[in-house]
């Protein structure tokens, strides 16, 4: 019942409507009510959001954020991930190995994305002077800290991979030993 209120009658072929004729709105009455309520509230706040003298820029920021994400950021990191998957050798362990690079790279990238103003700013003497004069804290260290965190993330991942590999080999070796024992016992 609820689904019907929102989505309307089964799309395309309404049970009571003329066959093959699509309703123009295409959704249920609740859908229309929700949309109207939502746009009215968004309009009420939107008028205030755009009330300043810089309203064209606010619009650019609002729509630009969505466009920049959908058409630049997402394709960029998706392409980077594809390159990574292609670069690593094929094989049974391929899938697991991808993660060992993907996770630290993604986490480091996220830290850079969110804290980009601080990290990039810390290489600019004018920015550092402004930050230090405002907060009283050292401002030139953010790039170094991000690099060290990145190094730590990759090192941790390498250590983990190493441990897993050693563990697997040890297990395989002990399995081989017990199989040999079994065979010689059977043979004896």
């Amino acid at each position: 019942m609820r689904e019907r209120l929102v989505r309307g009658r089964a799309r395309g072929a309404g049970a009571g409507g003329a066959p093959g004729r699509r309703p123009r709105y295409g959704e249920g009455p609740l859908h229309l009510l929700l949309m109207l309520a939502s746009f009215a509230l968004a309009g009420y706040a939107g008028v205030r959001l755009l009330a300043g003298g810089q309203w064209p820029l606010v619009l650019v920021w609002f729509a630009g954020a969505a466009l920049l994400h959908d058409l630049v950021l997402l394709p960029l990191y998706a392409a980077a991930d594809r390159v990574l998957v292609r670069c690593l050798p094929e094989g049974t362990r391929h899938r697991a190995r991808t993660g060992y690079v993907r996770v630290p790279a993604a986490v480091s990238g996220l830290l850079l994305l969110v804290w980009f103003p601080l990290i990039a700013g810390s290489t600019d003497p004018a920015w550092v002077a402004h930050y230090e004069a405002t907060t009283g804290l050292p401002g030139g260290e953010f790039l170094a800290r991000w690099l060290l965190l990145t190094a730590g993330l990759f090192a941790l991942s390498a250590l983990w991979l190493l441990c897993r590999t050693v563990q697997r080999r040890l297990r395989a070796a002990s399995r081989r030993r017990s199989e040999t024992k079994q065979r010689s016992a059977d043979g004896g």
């Binding site: 959704e27 949309m35 706040a45 959001l49 300043g52 920021w61 609002f62 954020a65 103003p117």
Partner: protein, 417 residues
């Protein structure tokens, strides 16, 4: 390589190859965001209330044109004394930690941006406009918030109206989206597995999936690792103590400025807001006014009044805060009594010597003046206030946002705005 077509446009369902996409992953991420964004909205509204924007003809209000969006406002309490520290610390830390979840959620539904036909019906057209407000809104809020806590004020206009009205535009679209998608989300979570592409009603399941390189749970683990890393490098600037040391990328993390009892976080230094040594020297006088009376007091006069102590934090709208510091000075209600407001003192208008800054004049409500822990502080941790912490005298009020704890106070006007 098989018979792949030479070019597949993103409008084709076979362009999207990830085997991870499907209603289950989107539903899990959507559920996390439903909880997280609700928390951000509530703590954001609380932060606005904490400024007491309706006081003194809107002196503390950066969005005076709010109209009905301020209907919920209420007098901000003074207890528990860590209230604003908690709500605003959560707002900023959770906001930062949710960035990977927002990105993952958008990734999980990106094929829908390119579906053909772009508009199926009038209802579909309205929904797509609403989705532009949803996606533009969430990114706009992330970007303005994340830039503001990094003292990077590049946005077009003042932060407060952009983030506040932007939040309402976003929430209008968000609430609608939640209502429309909740039934499908619940079904996806109950079923726990995605339908096959042919039976998929969401348009998310890949028609021609690639071989998986990570499981769906692994992908969620990656998002979680991102949130954890952002949270760990941020939370310490709010939690304080030893945690601050690992908040390596937070603007007020890693360490404290200077040494001694005054070595704790500074919002704006004396130099940054134009305080000169000669303004705060022996000639400095505090003017206390109200009810037609006026008293002028030097620092020695203030120290001769009864001194009281209060252990209170500074908590900034930017999400960082200090541990409780032991402040000592004169109670605001004792200062009100000097100009005749003895029994039930009114609110106070506080003015600072500082030349720049939106809050160099700020208003405190009567409940804040009456709280025995609200001080005009002269000392902190047993030492004189440093210049950067507001020497010769500063306001400290329990649970109030940092900007209302005015530094370098020059005038207090009780009961008149």
């Amino acid at each position: 390589m098989g018979a792949h077509p030479p070019f597949t446009p993103p409008t084709s369902p076979s362009f999207w190859r990830s085997p991870l996409r499907g209603p289950w992953l989107t539903a899990v991420l959507g559920t996390v965001l439903l909880a997280g964004i609700t928390l951000l909205f509530v703590t954001g509204l609380l932060s606005y209330a904490a400024y007491n924007p309706d006081l003194a003809g809107g002196l503390n209000d950066r969005t005076p044109g709010k109209g009905l969006l301020g209907l919920y406002l209420f007098p901000w309490p003074t207890g528990p004394h860590w209230l604003y520290r908690l709500t605003q610390g959560l707002h900023v830390t959770v906001g930062v930690a949710l960035v990977p979840v927002v990105l993952a959620k958008l990734w999980s539904v990106i094929p829908k941006l390119f579906t053909l036909p772009p508009v199926r019906s009038a209802g579909h057209a309205l929904e797509r406009i609403s989705l532009l407000l949803l996606v533009g809104g969430v990114l706009f809020e992330c970007v303005t918030g994340v830039l503001n806590v990094q003292l990077e004020y590049l946005f077009p206009g003042s932060f407060y109206p952009l983030h506040f009205y932007g939040a309402w535009v976003f929430m209008a679209a968000f609430a609608t989206h939640v209502v429309l998608r909740l039934p499908r989300t619940v079904r996806a979570l109950r079923e726990g597995r995605d339908p096959r592409a042919a039976a998929d009603d969401t348009g998310l399941v890949a028609a021609r999936p690639d071989r998986p390189t990570v499981s769906r749970r692994g992908a969620l683990g990656l998002v979680g690792a991102g949130s954890l890393a952002l949270g760990l490098t941020t939370a310490g600037q709010s939690i304080g103590g030893r945690w601050r040391r690992i908040a390596l990328l937070a603007p007020h993390g890693a360490g404290e400025p200077g040494s001694g009892p005054n070595a704790f976080q500074i919002n704006k230094t004396a130099a940054a807001v134009g305080i000169r040594a000669r303004d705060t020297g022996d000639d400095w006088r505090l003017t206390v006014e109200g009810g037609g009376r006026r008293v002028r007091l030097g620092r020695a006069d203030l120290l001769a009044l009864p001194q009281h102590e209060a252990a209170l934090p500074i908590a900034c709208v930017e999400g960082w805060s200090t541990d409780d510091r032991l402040w000592s000075g004169v109670r605001l209600r004792d200062l009100a009594a000097l100009v005749g407001h003895e029994a039930e003192p009114p609110g106070v208008l506080v003015e600072s010597l500082q030349l720049h800054g939106a809050f160099r004049r700020a208003a405190l409500r009567d409940n804040q003046v009456r709280d025995p822990r609200s001080l005009l502080a002269l000392r902190v941790g047993g030492a004189e206030l440093s210049a950067d912490h507001g020497y010769p005298a500063r306001i400290i009020v329990p649970a109030a946002p940092g900007v209302l704890n005015t530094k370098w106070v020059s005038r207090l006007t009780f009961g008149e705005w």
